[in-house]
Amino acid sequence: MSEKACQVLIIGGGPAGMSAARAALAGGAQVVLLEAGDALGGQFWRHLPESRKGGEEQVLHHKWRHFNTVQRELRDDPGCEVVLGAHVWAIERPDGGQAPAVHVMVGPPDGADREPRTYLPQSIIFATGGQERTLPFPGWDLPGVYTAGAAQALAKGERVAVGQRVLVAGAGPFLLPVVTSLIRTGATVIGVAEASGWKRLAKGWLSRPWELAATRSKAGELGGYLREMVHHRVPYRAGTTVIAAHGEESVESVTLARLDADWKPVPGTQRRVEVDAVCVSHGFVPRTELALTVGCTVDAHGFVVVDDQQRTSVENVFCAGELTGIGGVDLALAEGEIAGATAAGTQPRASVVKARNVFRAFAERLQTAHGIRPGWQTWPEPGTTLCRCEDVTVGEVREVAAATQARGLRSLKLTTRAGLGPCQGRTCGRNTEEILSSCGLLDPGRTARRPIAIPVRLGELAATTSSQREETP
């Protein structure tokens, strides 16, 4: 197993990580950029593989030219090592100020004979991004119900449309680019259902308009998606959501209902719509498991707390992008640049610090206009799946919580098995936490805490320890 010292190690090759790498290089640092996939770009710039490279891929992308420029710069810079297929599975932090050891398996995802490597960086920048949060409703685990991100990944990375007659539902402006991608992949989008009502949308987006003027590129991005929707006559319904999906082996129809301000369905407003796919995203949660293993402090919403230079509570550890709050690509690029410059021991540009502050305000608006409301807990029925991996229902979790008065998420997890399947609670964690806290079980333990960040095969682990032994004289 190889061990390698480096100055700045960046984990995550999306917009924030790429931007961080570029800034750290500009500051004279020697950089290693780890990306789990086999291309840079992250979910935002997810694209076709080199062998199928599109002549017009910009039709699916925002800031596509910027992506290509930065990618080229990183490839050409001898101070930058980009490692693709790099799956970080553990980070050790020795006592006494030594460099942390970042353990990585390099090779195809879930492969059995990947190459183990260890990096010993002076600074680490986490740019591991976010993932969608989908709230449970009856039938949400039927095939044909996808996260909006899955629809994007399949459209941008495969040119596969998830269905022919598709409804997009959930909350937030990130639903809009999904509509564009689906249309440009040959699907018909029959509508967008936004859970927040017009009143709340207006409060979030129309107050203090002079601040929004500063986020021109964001407005331009969203405006483009809106024009596309209008052009294709895709109806946009505010204060509406999918509260059930129906079908035997896959989705055949969904029930839409109007929601009140708390996201409780308004009685008498339900109607059925025929679809063959539905894409649902109610918000985003940060992928903090690695940041948590090194002890970074998180706030009440689970985001990593950073200072003005993107420093976390742990010395020489930085975070950028969705880990620190959900704000979209512009915020991720600005935060990455600040983290990279600071990790390299230089001052970030004043203009990018200003940009970050402007886009942070945009992130706050997002929360005001689209943040998840507690009324969602009335959507699931007792038999509705909560944990998809272990088939645990909402009713079972509520019953066990009430019966055992189990204090603490962990003991309750062991009793119900919710969050113990292969995904380790990544999908259901937040939803389980919220249901439990409304059962009176307040647990400070966040489900994102896991000792091993990705599944590693036992054979691979054995290989790591035996090769370590061989190296020791």
Partner: protein
């Protein structure tokens, strides 16, 4: 027509390069896709929506998150179990067994 579908290259505004075909075997049946597609992409490009069952109630599972987070899409690739179909590129001649087949 219902369900997932790959947009034929001649209709595609993105104008992808022709990467040539890739053929994999899924539970003994041969399926073709394009070089560079993920295993999930090949399955869905052929109209398949599910290939696994949930452990307790046997509900059908396929792609959900599409980004490697949910582990709904697991299958066996060349005798290696629990590979995420949405993350792994299809290799020429890959032999895939799905849990749906091994359970029967």
């Amino acid at each position: 027509m219902r369900g997932p579908r790959r947009l034929p290259a001649e209709q595609d505004p993105v104008r992808p390069k022709d990467s040539g075909p890739v053929t994999i075997t899924v539970d003994g049946e041969s399926l073709s896709g394009l070089q560079g597609q993920s295993i999930a992409g090949v399955l869905m490009g052929n109209g398949r929506q599910s290939w696994r069952r949930s452990p307790r109630t046997g509900r059908p599972r396929g792609v959900f998150c599409g980004i490697g987070v949910c582990f709904d899409c697991l299958l066996t690739v060349n005798d290696i179990p629990d590979v995420r179909a949405c993350q792994r590129r299809a290799g020429e001649g890959d032999v895939i067994t799905t849990q749906e087949a091994s359970d029967v």
